[in-house]
């Protein structure tokens, strides 16, 4: 039985709820409510020390030895209602372990966690009513049942009424193309189909908080696009989303904030745009020219500090510049002053380079540039 059970709330009561949510976790912050809060979150796994082979196993039976492995090491998180946060880090960094603690699957070794006023691993059933989780690596559908049946069982568990349920199905059908999948047994779905069905299952009850752990892993481009636009819609409706992914386009298209962890420790927590501004200042504008050009020196002279590169065919020009010292408009007018252009585009800085810097240990000491980076106590 859950020990702590605030009144169930709907999304429409949110403003009102700021004063009602359990005091343990709620805090009004810029008029928004902190939905996910973790303080000093830690998870230590005990791994058996076993020599390989049968002899090792037998010896382990007699002489049990374990070594401790710290998967998540004192992480502080504070995520406000409606935020879309990317949770990023190399393999084995502790992302999934964090998500499992936030969703109540794992009991933390130490630290506190509150989600929407509940301690997830204490009030599991109530927690499950409010959050949705998708693990890209594993299905949550009933393996031997048709998708439709899984969804109906979930509908009964959540107590969703028929007409609402129908609306949800139609919505899932239009965005995820769920209709075709309904009669198929989960076991027979392809990866992309399974992911779409899993998303529907996790979001059927319109949870306030959604954790997506590598939801686009192994999907082809068209399914990825569908998943992304679906998640973008969720965010625009005010759902709080925490997204774990290795796909940097996922992050750029969905999230405003990025949290980077490595070896179980929080390395960076900040606003995505701010991160790009501070760490990815270079931008490239590419032009296709009307007439081929012999040299680009005159353009370069107009743009001090920028690198100008002309392809050998003389018709493709690329200008790389620091976005803090030069604006796109200045670059454009400098180019137009010298040549006629047919087409142009701007390459936005990719978050990839930031993450690379972090992985290379360059960002270790830098925290901030963010609105939500300091843990709330």
């Amino acid at each position: 039985m859950p020990t702590h059970r605030p009144e169930p709330r709907r999304r429409s009561d949110v403003d009102f709820s700021a004063s009602v949510v359990g005091l343990a976790s709620a805090k009004v912050h810029d008029g928004s409510v902190t939905l996910i809060q973790a303080i000093g979150l830690r998870k230590v796994f005990r791994k058996p020390d076993k020599a390989p082979g049968i002899r090792g196993s037998l010896r382990h039976l007699v002489q049990r030895r374990y070594s401790e492995h710290v998967a998540v090491d004192s992480i502080d998180l504070s995520i406000a209602e409606g935020e879309a946060v990317a949770y990023v880090g190399p393999n084995g960094a502790g992302k999934s372990t964090t998500v499992k603690m936030l969703s109540g699957i794992l009991v933390p070794t130490a630290g506190q966690v509150h989600v929407d006023g509940l301690v997830p691993h204490r009030a599991r059933v109530e927690n499950a009513r409010r959050v949705g989780v998708v693990f890209g690596q594993r299905t949550q559908l009933w393996w031997d049942l048709p998708v439709r049946e899984s969804l109906e069982l979930l509908r009964d568990m959540h107590g969703i009424d028929r007409s609402r349920y129908q609306e949800r199905l139609e919505r899932f059908d239009s965005v995820l193309g769920l209709g075709d999948l309904l009669p198929v047994t989960a076991r027979k779905l392809s990866l992309g189909q399974r992911m779409r069905a899993d998303l529907a299952a996790a979001l059927l009850h319109e949870p306030r908080v959604v954790y997506l752990d590598e939801p686009t892993i192994g999907l082809d481009i068209s399914v990825k696009d569908r998943v992304r636009s679906f998640v973008r819609q969720l965010v625009s409706e005010g759902t709080t989303v925490m997204l774990t992914t290795h796909d940097l386009s996922d992050i750029e298209e969905i999230c405003q904030r990025i949290i980077i962890i490595d070896e179980g420790r929080l390395v960076y927590d900040g606003n995505l745009q701010a991160v790009k501004d501070t760490h990815v200042r270079e931008r490239t504008m590419s032009f296709e020219l009307e007439d081929s050009l012999l040299g680009a020196d005159q353009i370069a002279a107009r743009l001090p500090g920028a690198r100008v590169h002309l392809e050998s065919n003389g018709r493709e020009l690329a200008v790389t510049f620091d976005r803090m010292t030069l604006g796109a408009r200045q670059v454009l007018s400098a180019v137009l002053a010298e040549v006629e252009i047919v087409d142009m585009h701007i390459d936005e800085p990719a978050i990839e380079s930031v993450v690379r810097k972090v992985y290379a240990g360059q960002l270790q000491a830098e925290h901030g540039g963010a609105t939500n980076s300091e843990p709330m106590r």
């Binding site: 796994f45 999934s96 499992k100 969703s103 109540g104 699957i105 794992l106 009991v107 691993h121 599991r124 059933v125 109530e126 499950a128 009513r129 959050v131 949705g132 989780v133 693990f135 690596q137 594993r138 299905t139 949550q140 559908l141 009933w142 031997d144 049942l145 049946e149 069982l153 979930l154 009964d156 568990m157 959540h158 107590g159 996790a202």
Partner: protein, 263 residues
């Protein structure tokens, strides 16, 4: 409570439909159950051919004990077979999905499989009771019939609780096989016979430590009115509650140790 029962039925029903996709399975499992349990009866009969009585128990009385085992086994297989999936579920981290649904995880585990062999058990068990009551000499009254029904259900509760308790070892052992629970189940098979034939150690183990004797010997004795065993037999419903509580507690403790799997 009503919602809980309804959802439990829904979950089991879904498993029934999933299993019925393989119709052959249904018949093979049901028939094999009748066969396996039937062989036990033939074995009993063979023993009683050479000795008319064991510790004061005659053939048809032992058949009644046997019927208790077969029926409680049948009920637990039919309705709570999921307990036996716990080892695999825990080992492969598949409990994750159950923990994210708003229905008690324990009930989701128990209802995650339907053992159709339970049906065969029930048919055979009821047949055995019907045959036995005609041969044992006591008079049937409505009160005694009611007592019998209550005790059969309680006996099933004992079996279900003990199945759950022993299968919860999976949370500590972390092996994908239910070896421990299966050994205990095999130990519990001793309760198919009047336990007075065993030494003191076994009797204590099967009465007080893992009280498998309460799924057969004691309740059967209570129905047949047989001295102290009868008094103990009347306690079967309490023992059932105790066993179920033990199982649920083990599950709760186990869940707090659950570590999912690395992904």
């Amino acid at each position: 409570m009503r919602r809980t029962i309804r959802l439990y039925r829904r979950l089991l029903g879904a498993q029934v439909r999933a299993t019925l996709e393989y119709e052959a399975d249904f018949w093979i499992m049901s028939l094999s159950a009748v066969l396996v349990q039937g062989i036990g009866v033939v074995f009993l009969w063979a023993i009683f051919e050479s000795i008319p009585e064991i510790n004061g128990w005659r053939f048809w009385e032992v058949v009644l004990i046997y019927a208790f085992v077969v029926i409680s086994e049948g009920l637990s297989t039919l309705f709570t077979q999921g307990a036996w999936t716990l080892a695999v579920t825990v080992n492969f981290g598949q409990l994750d999905a159950l923990l994210m649904r708003p229905f008690p995880p324990l009930l989701q585990v128990l209802s995650s499989e339907v053992g159709f062999n339970g049906l065969g058990n029930l048919v055979l068990g009821i047949g055995l009771v019907a045959a036995a009551v005609r041969h044992v000499d006591f008079t049937w009254s409505p009160g005694r019939i009611a007592l019998g029904v209550i005790l059969v259900i309680a006996a099933a509760g004992v079996k279900i609780g003990l199945n759950l308790l022993t299968n919860c070892a999976a949370f500590w052992l972390r092996s994908p096989y239910s070896m421990f629970a299966f050994s205990m189940h095999t130990f519990g098979e001793l309760a198919r016979f009047p336990i007075t034939i065993y030494g003191l150690g076994v009797r204590i183990a099967i009465t007080a430590v893992l009280p498998y004797a309460f799924m057969s010997y004691f309740p059967a004795a209570a129905v047949l009115s047989d001295g102290t065993a009868r008094l103990l037999g009347l306690l079967t419903p309490l023992v059932a509650i105790y066993c179920l509580w033990l199982g649920a507690t083990a599950f709760r403790l186990g869940l707090s140790r659950y570590e999912s799997s690395g992904h």
